[in-house]
């Protein structure tokens, strides 16, 4: 059953209240973020339909938005998603080597997920960390000034966290 908890429903109401009466559709992007976080890291069709119901809009209005923005995952992703920026400034600073190293280390190419479902590798376009390149987004935060050693440490950290949470 896809339903937000009471706590999250309170958050939903708080978000909707930010906009004028009748303009609740404005809450769509924040609600999709919340839904993705809550329901397994991606937006399955029933999840999008649930968000449509909450906002009293047609499901198509949710689908067209979910498919437009790159942060909404339309298929399952690993527990930890490495999004490595590879636009100009990061490329200059060696982003391609970082992508290649992660591929070598985890055996996955950009767009793929490890068989254990732990890691997804993605390339990303400019994340606004050009002065701290090469870098990647991991969950809510940025990991910057990446080196092979740092990548190793991040992978270990993720594995430890995953083991601790099981």
């Amino acid at each position: 059953m896809i339903r937000f908890s009471d706590d999250k429903m309170a958050k939903v109401q708080e978000i909707i209240a930010r906009y004028p009466e009748g303009k609740q559709k404005s809450a769509l992007l924040p609600l999709l973020h919340l839904a993705q976080e809550t329901f397994g890291g991606w937006l399955d069709v029933p999840v999008m339909d649930y968000v449509a119901e909450l906002l009293q809009i047609d499901p198509i209005e949710v689908y067209e938005v979910a498919t437009f923005y790159s942060m909404y995952n339309l298929k399952p992703v690993g527990k930890y998603m490495f999004e490595v920026c590879h636009t100009g400034p990061c490329m200059i600073s060696g982003a391609d080597n970082i992508v290649a190293y992660i591929t070598e280390k985890l055996g996955i190419k950009p767009g793929e997920t490890t068989a254990d479902g732990l890691f997804t590798l993605k390339t990303a376009e400019c994340l606004g960390a050009c002065g701290y390149a090469p870098m990647m987004q991991l969950g809510k935060h940025y990991r910057e000034h990446l080196t092979k050693e740092k990548v190793d440490a991040i992978i270990d950290e993720c594995r430890r966290n995953a083991a601790a949470n099981n």
């Binding site: 004028p20 923005y69 600073s93 994340l127 960390a129 002065g131 987004q137 809510k140």
Partner: protein, 450 residues
């Protein structure tokens, strides 16, 4: 040391908290504006300051404010554009992360000037940790009476909300941002009507960049005339520059716009010179959309005059021999970098970020990416270079929003100034896969002189 108006307190310990920010003189601009000035007087000060929009277009902020329509009984809104996504640009992130109260203070004063009772900060979704910092600052400001109902007993009400985007460069374009804020795809609107007449929810709206709104604080504190004395010509006040690429000290710098490009790159106060003892090859001085310049045209204009870090000087010579201040994203390439490869990554970026609404941009950005990939892999033909030129020309000016121009300009400039490097990839298909073209005749003029 240059004048610092925005980052002066950035290194004060605890400046992110309300107590420290207030102790350091914060929220004085709100007191002054709300208690001693009317909304129109605030607009007037911003006009006098000569402040130009810091997001990239450089349009005078005070004039933009004066366009806002005031129909009876229709609410108006201020929207803060924190969608910072232009490659090379990371200055707004720095301001929001380290000086959140400066932005909130700027938003209160600006909302008062424009008559907005509900102001929205639209921040790019990837800056996922920053909304917490901003919301904390908003809560502190509210707890201390700077937000909410009847602020300072003046009858002015204001709430500020933070909205996250979800990964779309196009939402930095103001009408796409408005669409996104309404819960839609970020497809730019046809103008007119301009947002000042019909913006979010068809209400009069002003959209301003983070840095622009933060700059309103020193303008109110010191007065527009004093602010306008800093800088030169129509480049008044200070500008944040985010510097990256092959330099010793990448980071965010506040400059007054009287320093030369050479000083900015080589002095220890700023970029600290080219990293690893390499030589300067080229630079994109204002974010990925602006024309790339070879070292000789970067440090000196075509007339042989010193080039300065300001709006006028950076654009001296037009697109033939100049560039633009843009967003202040300063990307430096050393002698080992390939202009073809750099241009390819930017073409890929624009293809990825095109919203798909206008055919020239949707189709053209894809064709340009493919042609550049072919050239980069040593599989291109000389005619591909002409074809690239032709495509970019047919995109420019033929789209609803400026993303088309932004995709076209970097390619045009790369071919204009580095055509022999593109040709080298065609005529030396094997060698080009093993080594970079190097400096050719684009060397730093300082060495030529020596």
């Amino acid at each position: 040391m240059g004048v610092k108006l925005l980052l002066e307190k950035a290194h004060v310990e605890g400046i992110r908290t309300y107590e420290v920010y207030r102790r350091e003189g914060g929220y004085r601009a709100v007191e002054k504006a709300l208690k001693t000035m009317g909304p129109d007087a605030v607009v007037e000060e911003v006009k006098k300051s000569g402040l130009r929009g810091r997001g990239g277009a450089g349009f005078p902020a005070g004039m933009k404010w004066s366009f806002i329509a005031k129909p009876e009984g229709v609410p108006r809104h201020l929207v803060c554009n924190a969608d910072e996504s232009e490659p090379g640009t990371f200055k707004d992130r720095y301001l929001m992360e380290f000086l959140p109260h400066l932005l909130i203070e700027g938003l209160i004063v600006s909302s008062f000037a424009l008559g907005s009772n509900a102001t929205y900060i639209y921040i790019r979704g990837e800056y996922a940790w920053i909304p917490d910092i901003l919301e904390q600052a908003i809560a502190e400001a509210k707890a201390n009476g700077w937000l909410g109902k009847n602020i300072l007993g003046t009858g002015f009400d204001l709430e500020i909300y933070v909205q996250r985007g979800a990964g779309a460069y196009i939402c930095g374009e103001e009408t796409a941002l408005i669409e996104s804020l309404e819960g839609k795809r970020g497809n730019p609107r046809i103008k007119p009507p301009f947002p000042a007449i019909k913006g979010v929810w068809e209400r009069p709206t002003v959209v301003n960049n983070v840095e622009t709104l933060a700059a309103v604080v020193p303008i109110i504190n010191m007065g527009g005339d004093e602010y306008a004395k800093i800088g030169v010509g129509k480049s008044t006040g200070t500008k944040l520059i985010s510097a990256c690429g092959n330099i010793n000290k990448p980071g965010v710098y506040e400059i007054d716009m009287t320093i030369s490009v050479e000083e900015f790159i080589y002095s220890d106060e700023y970029c600290g010179g080219i990293a690893n003892g390499k030589r300067l090859k080229a630079c994109i001085p204002g974010g990925s959309s602006v024309p790339i310049l070879p070292a000789n045209l970067l440090l000196k204009t075509a007339k042989g005059e010193t080039r300065y870090m300001n709006y006028e000087s950076l654009s001296d010579g037009g697109f033939a021999t100049g560039s633009m201040m843009g967003s202040g994203g300063f990307i430096v390439l050393d002698e080992d970098q390939s202009v073809v490869r750099n241009t390819y990554t930017l073409a890929r970026f624009y293809r990825h970020e095109s919203c798909g609404q206008c055919s020239p941009c949707r189709e053209g950005t894809g064709w340009m990416e493919k042609l550049l990939k072919r050239l980069l892999e040593g599989k291109g033909k000389i005619t591909d270079i002409d074809l690239l030129w032709d495509i970019q020309r047919k995109i420019e000016g033929n789209t609803i929003c400026p993303l088309g121009d932004a995709a076209a300009w970097p390619i045009a400039a790369a071919i204009r100034h580095f055509r022999d490097e593109f040709e080298w990839y065609v005529t030396n298909p094997e060698e080009s896969q093993r080594r970079n073209y190097g400096l050719a005749h684009y060397a730093d003029p300082r060495e030529v002189v020596a």
